[in-house]
């Protein structure tokens, strides 16, 4: 790290102190009508920015000059074990990569999955009602992120209105209950189907759009849905929403809050499992491949005989299905829905789950969603700075790990060595 860089970091820190002066230092006490000068905050901001800036520059410099053996390993050699040069490889990154390689080996995979599953199933027993409740929220987001992953991660279409389908699912249950007294288990498939239809409805006009244009249209669609729910007072209750929605029923047994939450928890776990199963099967199928190809290059995909219209509609429909399903479960969990739960901000959170976790990668998206929902819950003490941290994390991720936490790895195929050359 050169002197020049330290000087520059210092400059940035001073500039930050100046910028944040009005909000961090001056405070108007509105009771006594006096001004408090919190000079010490200036000091903290300066030190914090300076240290943060140094770390940032250090990390950037490290990224530009990677360890000598590292870059090749990312593409070619990871199909085989790397026994030879590992003796000398000392950087933390290498060690971590090796550990990761060991952990993800085939023989450890099953026990790890099994352990995770047991932990997931035992979670309501091990923890409090509050924890279970948070976990339900997180799992709903996992489901949303997995669904959005079909559109964004596989299809490469920037979809900013995903929460609209979530709203459609939730309101399906809410309205059906309010007017017809229909219960959870009937509403569940209906909500999913209606959301799917809404997805197809949105897909048809946006077939020709891509990139930013698609993003704007989907964003607008989500706003239209929200505003309709907000203003259709006779049916949706307007901003007051719909209350008293029943929790999921189990053969008419009366359950207390704790039992009902546990029950909802298992329902969402099952729903997430189903989502994972379907998404996993879909992405390794003919249609899934076609969708990925379309995301990569739609002109080439079309020239290879892939019907873009059909593929896009399927992607939107399948993506929306999970949002609808999640929406019904969400409505039954909160027992109250209003349009404020379905703002653009929610779409952005789901999008961030997908992008941070790793577009197209199922484990990545799960980790991303769990992380983004659970961490803020457990860091309630810092809730004032949530947006600040959110932004910082996004920027950091985009600079240092643009592919997401767990990057998508394409499936490798093996062939019998009929010509003498085995490809592993």
């Amino acid at each position: 790290m050169s002197f020049q860089e330290i000087k520059r970091t210092l400059g940035v820190a001073l500039w930050f102190v100046f910028l944040t002066f009005p909000i961090m230092v001056i405070r108007v006490n509105q009771v006594d009508m006096t001004i408090q000068w919190r000079w010490y905050n200036m000091f903290y901001v300066g030190i914090g920015t300076f240290v943060g800036g140094l770390i940032w520059r250090f990390a950037l410099a490290r990224r530009k000059t990677p360890g000598k053996p590292a870059p090749a390993a990312t593409t070619k050699t990871d199909t085989n074990e790397t026994p030879a040069d590992s003796a000398g490889g000392g950087s933390i990154k290498d060690r971590f990569a090796r550990l990761w390689g060991t952990v993800t080996q085939q023989k450890y995979r099953r026990p790890i999955y099994a352990a995770g599953l047991v932990l997931l199933l035992a979670f309501p027993i091990l923890s409090s009602l509050y924890q279970t409740s948070i976990m339900i929220t997180a799992l709903i987001y996992v489901m949303l992120a997995l669904g959005l992953n079909i559109v964004i991660g596989l299809g490469g279409m920037l979809h900013l209105g995903y929460i609209a389908f979530f709203a459609v699912g939730a309101y399906t249950y809410g309205i059906l209950y309010k007017f017809f007294g229909i219960g959870f288990w009937v509403a569940l498939p209906l909500g999913a189907i209606l959301a799917t239809l809404a997805g197809v409805l949105l897909a048809l006009p946006v077939i020709r759009l891509r990139g930013d244009y698609l993003a704007i249209v989907t964003l607008g669609f989500a706003e239209i849905v929200r505003i309709v729910f907000n203003n259709l007072t006779p049916i949706t209750g307007g901003p007051q929403g719909i209350g008293g929605i029943p929790r999921p029923s189990l053969f008419g047994i009366d359950m207390n809050l704790s039992a009902a939450t546990t029950y909802t928890y298992y329902i969402i776990v099952a729903a997430v499992a189903l989502t994972i199963f379907v998404v996993w099967r879909f992405e390794n199928s003919r249609l899934g491949r076609a969708l990925v190809a379309m995301g990569e290059d739609d002109i080439a995909a079309e020239a290879m005989g892939i019907d873009i219209t059909r593929t896009k509609v399927i992607a939107f429909a399948l993506g929306s299905f999970w949002a609808g399903l999640g929406g019904v479960i969400f409505a039954s969990r909160t027992t109250f829905i209003n349009p404020a739960s379905f703002t653009v901000w929610q779409s952005v959170i789901v999008l961030s789950c997908v992008v941070l976790g790793g577009m197209g990668s199922i484990p990545g998206v799960i980790v991303g969603a769990l992380g983004l929902i659970l961490i803020p819950e457990y860091l309630r003490a810092f809730s004032d700075y949530r947006m600040l941290m959110f932004g910082a994390i996004l920027v950091t991720m985009m600079v240092f790990r643009p592919g997401g936490l767990i990057q998508k790895k394409r499936k490798a195929y093996t062939f019998q060595a009929d010509a003498g050359e085995a490809s592993s």
Binding site: K76, R281, S285, R286, G305
Partner: protein
């Protein structure tokens, strides 16, 4: 006995006031290798795009005659439908699916020859599984024929340039075309790679039963490969004939080298 497989009649393509393709007539017989040449901006790629459905020509018509089927017009059809009927193409600027593996790229080419739908994908019944195994096997065979099998599981974007060009051809072949349209396949290749490409194209024509339509700037490749050449300039066909005829055609020389100003 030659059999007409492509018949472009009076094709015109206008972009606003600009006429990129101007009343072009081109025909092609089964088993031929023909080339379309011309200076930059002559409208060659636009012509390809019109034939393969990227654009709908504003005038004229395109007829194809796939083996064992009736002659029919494909004008105005979607590119995916035209591809399914046996017209495969490559692109001037390589358009591979960069983040997919080499094998997957070829498997995408097989897409239109497969049937598995959404139910098959989710249930993964025996038929779907067998189809998947078949497509993996077929795609690998295609890679072997083109000589790319050592890259099977590499990402397409990590391939050397020449291999990427060949992968595009492999992907196009996977659609089981009766006609292959190659848009500047030798662009950016060194002489050795061009030579290999030449034998590859010949081999494809002879062994895969595919007719080849070539756009190319590398004259040595065009001259040695093609049986007939069409020359285009400013959207118009200015000459056609065997390589020898075209080489000595004064209009062609004028189009490429310009004309001496006579006072």
């Amino acid at each position: 006995m030659s059999e007409r497989i492509l018949n472009v009649q009076d094709m015109t393509m206008d972009f606003g006031g600009l006429r990129a393709v101007n009343h072009v007539n081109i025909t092609m017989d089964r088993g031929e290798i023909i080339a379309l040449i011309g200076p930059n901006g002559a409208g060659k790629t636009t012509f390809f795009n019109c034939v393969t459905g990227v654009y709908t020509p504003t005038g004229g018509d395109v007829f194809i005659n796939p083996p064992g089927e009736d002659e029919r017009s494909i004008k105005g059809q979607k590119p995916s439908r035209i591809a399914t009927q046996g017209l495969a193409r490559t692109f001037q600027n390589i358009r591979l699916f960069g983040n997919m593996t080499v094998l997957e790229n070829v498997m995408i080419g097989r897409h239109s020859r497969l049937k598995a739908g959404i139910a098959g994908a989710l249930l993964r019944n025996r038929k779907t599984r067998e189809e998947e195994e078949q497509v993996i096997h077929d795609s690998y065979e295609i890679l072997k024929r083109i000589g790319l099998e050592q890259y099977v599981n590499d990402l397409a974007r990590n391939l050397p340039y020449g291999a990427q060009r060949r992968l595009e051809i492999a992907r196009a072949l996977a659609t089981e075309p009766f006609m292959l349209l190659l848009d500047e396949p030798a662009a950016g290749m060194n002489p050795q790679e061009t030579k290999n490409l030449e034998s590859l194209i010949k081999r494809i024509r002879d062994t895969e039963n595919v007719s080849i339509f070539l756009i190319e700037h590398d004259m040595s490749l065009v001259m040695s490969l093609s049986e007939r050449i069409y020359v285009m300039d400013y959207g118009k066909l200015i000459a056609t004939g065997s390589p020898e005829e075209v080489k000595n055609n004064p209009d062609v020389i004028k189009a490429y080298l310009g004309e001496e100003v006579s006072a």
